[in-house]
Symmetry: D2
Subunit: 339 residues, 4 copies
């Protein structure tokens, strides 16, 4: 922490700040400048709340320096984590592709899409049985029946199932039927859910919150890991900004930003990240070119009839085209340069 004193702070103000720092068990290092004094604080093990210092007499600003990361950090583990899901993986040399419908609607739909996904060489199938919907009157998913259909897909195709849990009891069910627990953007700071997922044996795909700072996202992963589950995949899915030509603004700079701080793999969701069918392909290519470890893509056999998020779902043909394009880009840039 760094405390910057006001230009007119007195010796006494400085002494008082030093006293409070010492009382809290830290060490103050005053550095007088030509116009004002700065006080560096050392000796803190974890993060210190800087805000109370702002109210002390003579303090102009308190600036946090140490970042409170531990298990997510490259300081702890310099090499990238490869999350293994049976014989498939995310974060390794191969580009991970996770595809499927937004919501599980019925057996026919799911199998039609799954067959195309399997044939494309993707190893992961996505589909929601529990749907977080803005309105209580919108379709909320098939629940356990949906999970059973997904388990059948796994049986029939060998695809690994990625599906969302909305609450702690949902994690119990997902553990029974699926392979990867998805935590949605709206739940990124649902700390009870994060802790429960941290006690699971399944890997966790953690979506970035709608307006999450990088630190908050990584600390959400830290919640999962602090319970003992180190298999976390981060998913950038767009953030909320003033822009209205997209549903969300896909922040691809998050990929190099995460890489610089953390060893966790990052996948990109160009479907929710844009909200428009015609943007999914160019942004999927861009995500891979920026160094993503994988993509999560919405595909539907009849997008115009989809019960949720139809506008952004690709048709089966569009999906196949996308897979060949992103693989070609992945081949060009591999081994993925970090920047």
């Amino acid at each position: 922490m760094l405390i910057v004193m006001k230009a007119d702070a007195t010796e006494r103000d400085i002494a008082e700040v030093e006293r409070v720092i010492t009382e809290l068990g830290f060490r103050p290092h005053s550095v007088p400048g030509p116009s004002r004094t700065a006080i560096c604080v050392t000796g803190n093990q974890g993060p210190v709340d800087i805000t109370p210092f702002e109210n002390l007499r003579g303090v102009a600003e308190a600036i946090r320096v140490t970042k409170p990361f531990k298990l997510v950090s490259v300081d702890l583990r310099p090499e990238k984590t490869v999350v293994k899901v049976g014989d498939a993986q995310i974060g390794g040399e191969e580009l991970a592709i996770i595809a499927g419908p937004c919501a599980v609607e019925n057996r026919e739909q799911v199998f039609a899409v799954a067959e195309t996904v399997r044939r494309s060489g993707a190893r992961f199938f996505r589909g929601g049985a529990f749907k977080p919907r803005t309105s209580p009157y919108a379709f909320q998913g098939l629940g356990e029946d949906g999970l059973k259909i997904l388990a059948e897909v796994r049986e029939a195709t060998g695809l690994k199932i990625v599906t969302e849990a909305l609450d702690e009891s949902g994690v119990d069910l997902v553990e029974r039927y699926a392979d990867v627990i998805q935590i949605g953007a709206r739940n990124m700071q649902n700390f009870s859910l994060l802790r429960r997922a941290g006690r699971s044996r399944l890997p966790v795909l953690l979506k970035r919150g709608l307006s999450a700072m990088l630190d908050e996202w990584l600390l959400a992963a830290e919640y999962v890991m602090s319970e003992g589950n180190y298999n976390v995949v981060l998913c950038e899915r767009g953030v909320r900004t003033f822009a209205q030509h997209t549903r969300n603004t896909l922040d691809l700079a998050a990929i190099p930003a995460v890489r610089r701080i953390s060893h966790l793999p990052v996948v990109i969701d160009p479907s929710h990240g844009t909200g428009h069918n015609y943007m999914v392909m160019p942004l999927a290519r861009a995500g891979v070119a920026a160094g993503a470890d994988g993509l999560i893509i919405e595909v539907h056999d009849h997008p115009e009839r989809a019960l949720s998020d139809g506008a952004q779902a690709l048709t089966l043909e569009q999906y196949e085209h996308l897979v060949s394009e992103v693989r070609a880009i992945h081949d060009v840039i591999a081994p993925a340069p970090v920047g």
Copy 2:
């Protein structure tokens, strides 16, 4: 819903869109213009997902018209809801003041603050026993022990207790010890928690999410109400923007905006809404002047030693000054004009 066709859409494209609308059970009304045709859609009972229409041939844009509000809406209930909490209330003629420390730290602290709050004439006491913290390593609250201290405060002072529940089991505990269930900003779209609160006999104070649109906030309230609990108080606590001189940007226009659509009362949180002690007073005054039904304020007997959010907590003296100022403003503007 309104569907705008492209300038070069053919008769056939229009017919196909009309066919899909009809197939979904709605009625299309085509209005040809000089350069393009628009198709109004009627006959939908609830909200329709507009997005799938965007992918039909010849469609330029699909625009949602009907808002999916039901129980929160002034259409249903034109007069403002007054939420009763025992002999106190929020939304009535008197300005509701909810004050107390961010976190319950210990008995002494809580009683010192509570005594000042009671003496100020406020009817509600706030204090967190379960704290949602960005880092898993930060102080997480005293849990049930904290709730017990709050229950003692209620016993001793008659103040009504407002406290946050982070998950469904937390609601069980809050119901046992407190008077109003607070749902925090990070949980505004934790739909399982909203439904659980909707099945409670206690009123719910629902904070606006960090980047929640007005519609999403009202629909979160709709989740609670759709389970049968109509006693919901909305709380504006600032939203996340690019600005960095405040922790959040307090959006006071939310007060008249909610009023125009909904009968639910609105309170303002200038403490989290600004994050700085020196901003709490002017923004509290502003909230009341904008027509808020109440304020929720952080007060601490030793803000510089507070375990969470110390920078924004008022001292006991500042709090007493604030109460007299906001009451004077409330007297000037009453009966609160809607705009």
Copy 3:
């Protein structure tokens, strides 16, 4: 400036950073911590660009400490500036009210509004002769003819004229006919225009840019003042955020934030700041309650026929009601507490 070294930075990395700092004419002060070293930099007279340091080996982060304010700063001038405009003023004890139509449309309209404004006791009349419009095909204002009408209003009523200049030649014209030069939000960082206004004898009303940080806004004022014109009034008019229930999000926390750093007066524009007629009154009250030195309000004799920004303009009756309400609030809070 503070430079934070990485945990694995070597002695040599630190020495190199110190060398670069010294070479630039500054003084490095290394403070070794348990896990990493921080280097405080002193000796810089003005702002230093911190970014190049980020690319030196072993550097984790470079943090700017000194703010590059000079003439706008309370360090230079602790007491608030009162901007005098003939016998009227902004920043003094009386609440300054600046009212009038968005655009000057014709003589009849302007005089109808001006008569009401004068009668209300306001001292300033606003009206645009040059309108910055998003589309080149929208009404762009009457130009010099509009200024002439405004000068007639001044003659007839004694009201001081506040009107916008869009470019350097516009400042020449505004100087000829009006009393205060308004710089619009879109031009807040039009540095050539700021410098030209800085060489004017007229006071400048400087609107905050649509997404301006506090520092950028104050430095725009610094541009004007650095040319010798110290009569600057800041105007908060809402910023662009994700929210869609308002045209802009009015950031009233800017009032105490400016106060803490600068001696310049601040007025609030609830008309552009909300974009909706029904929000102007509550937000005007809120602005005054937050400590604003004045308001700038759009009024029109026939808002439904206004050629620009009609939705937010008040009717003459609404305006008169607003003036009495905000004066009552101003009386309650005076002398305006800083927070």
Copy 4:
């Protein structure tokens, strides 16, 4: 335009809205629904200001439908514009690369960078002689002397010069020495400057404003084109959001979004778009993968000593590596699919 009436609007309210529409010269088409009436408006040639309708009795909402684009629109010109600059071009089959230092500092620096740029096969050289700086005390550029150095580079290397004009007199100078006029983000809505550039014979590179909506950006281009200059290149350079891991958030979805509406070419600025050296390479690749027509890149021979924006400038070696990577990606995706 579409006007949605309130549920409780009377026949008379509807008749009054129809009357106003007719009075304005348009045609109303009322479509009664089960709960409310909508009124479609046709007959308008250009954009209509929707806002005044909001204040009429019984109106719930007024929704703009027609977009006010004309010259920028694919409706007018379906094939993409190729902007020719002598024997070079932007928008054609070849990826356009514009590279050079942020600011022209001295002859040696500029020639050192230019030699590398020429050797890489790029056709455009960038460098600022007039620098828009947030602080009046920061380095403002060499002015005309800088332009003369750039003209020497052109002479010596054949590279086309892209450089910024800050005001109308700056355009005069840029026309004398350079090949493409850059309009910076802060000036995107400096309408006097846009009009002046529209009367130039040189192509214009128009950067997106810090918080510009897509419509506003395209209408800024419309300003240039409405004066007769059709050679406009759009440049996405990141927008301002809450995120702090980057200087700006690069919005690559702007590429397909512009393509769908406009025939103008789009280039990406990953240097300002991220603000960090280590992010430039991955985001440059991403921009090309998303379908950009070109890149504008900051390169410096000694980034750690750069007088402006040093942190984001690439070294000469990094730049050469970048060019080979983005060309490989461009080869893979050509012919650039629109989505």
